[in-house]
Point group: C3
Chain length 121, copies 3
């Protein structure tokens, strides 16, 4: 049975790294060290951070339900898809939206908002 209390991982005054409620985890990732980081490096950072967030939530990257991908430049779209498909376990891709948007730090090249299942909940 799902846990109907709210769990938060690393809450700050501004955001929590992850919120978990009723078997659903919400988390958002931008590269933690974006300065002078190529698009590929930022994606790798985000994927590593996402795996840590999922692990902390009691989930993993095979349990993604939804991803909203904000890219600052569609010139990076093909590279993103290549890395994304290599990252996801076969047969587990989430629902996915992808749009272009400016991000708060001009060093950021992408931001991803995830929803994941926590089946262990």
């Amino acid at each position: 049975m799902a846990d109907m209390t709210i769990k938060r991982i690393n809450p700050t005054p501004r955001w929590s790294d992850v919120t978990i409620f009723n078997g659903i985890a919400h988390f958002v990732e931008v590269a933690e060290a974006p300065e002078n980081a190529s698009f590929r490096v930022q994606v790798e950072q985000i994927f590593e951070q996402a795996e840590a967030s999922l692990q902390n939530a009691g989930s993993d990257k095979s349990s993604l339900l939804s991803a909203t991908i904000y890219l600052t430049d569609f010139a990076n779209f093909a590279e993103f898809n290549q890395l994304w498909e290599a990252w996801l376990p076969a047969g587990t891709a989430p629902s996915r939206a992808c749009v272009k948007a400016e991000l708060v730090d001009p060093d950021y090249l992408l931001e991803i908002a995830f929803v994941a299942a926590v089946t262990a909940g």
Copy 2:
């Protein structure tokens, strides 16, 4: 009782058409044949695709919880609203956000990310 396993409809390496978990379906639609398609035609394609996604999930368009609408040009906003209101069954409109965004295929004029309830789950 809701199903706490993850169901995915048409998973590809990049995305699934729909994910379903704990009575919640996530799916995103862009027009499947956007080339030379007017805004109205793209909206009609998206609504038809959404109805198919909902049916495959065991839901229907009266069970939408949330819609995030990305339009490439607000000149299409009035027409969108007219089609949207005609599409939704009376009294069942979801929560709705609408913002302007560039989309990955320059032929795309809109993209909609949906969350829906699967009450049959």
Copy 3:
């Protein structure tokens, strides 16, 4: 146990103020009186509206799970963060995404899409 029927607050033909299903509320806020309203005033309106939406849903601002913040101008980002952190009860910040986007009414300076837990459900 969560309620597996869909509740909607103030459904119109275009949107519902809030949808609630399986312990999860979805709602989106823009300032109700944006004309000649400063950024600060729009944020205050949105926070007041969000509190009303949460109360109507049987929840409150300590139960936010996710926020997607669309700003029309990142010049307002620092002020937003100050107001946001002052608004949230300590230790309850949601997962948060923040991107730049044009909004449907040129008077709007921000729009926020929320997901919240309804623990009383």
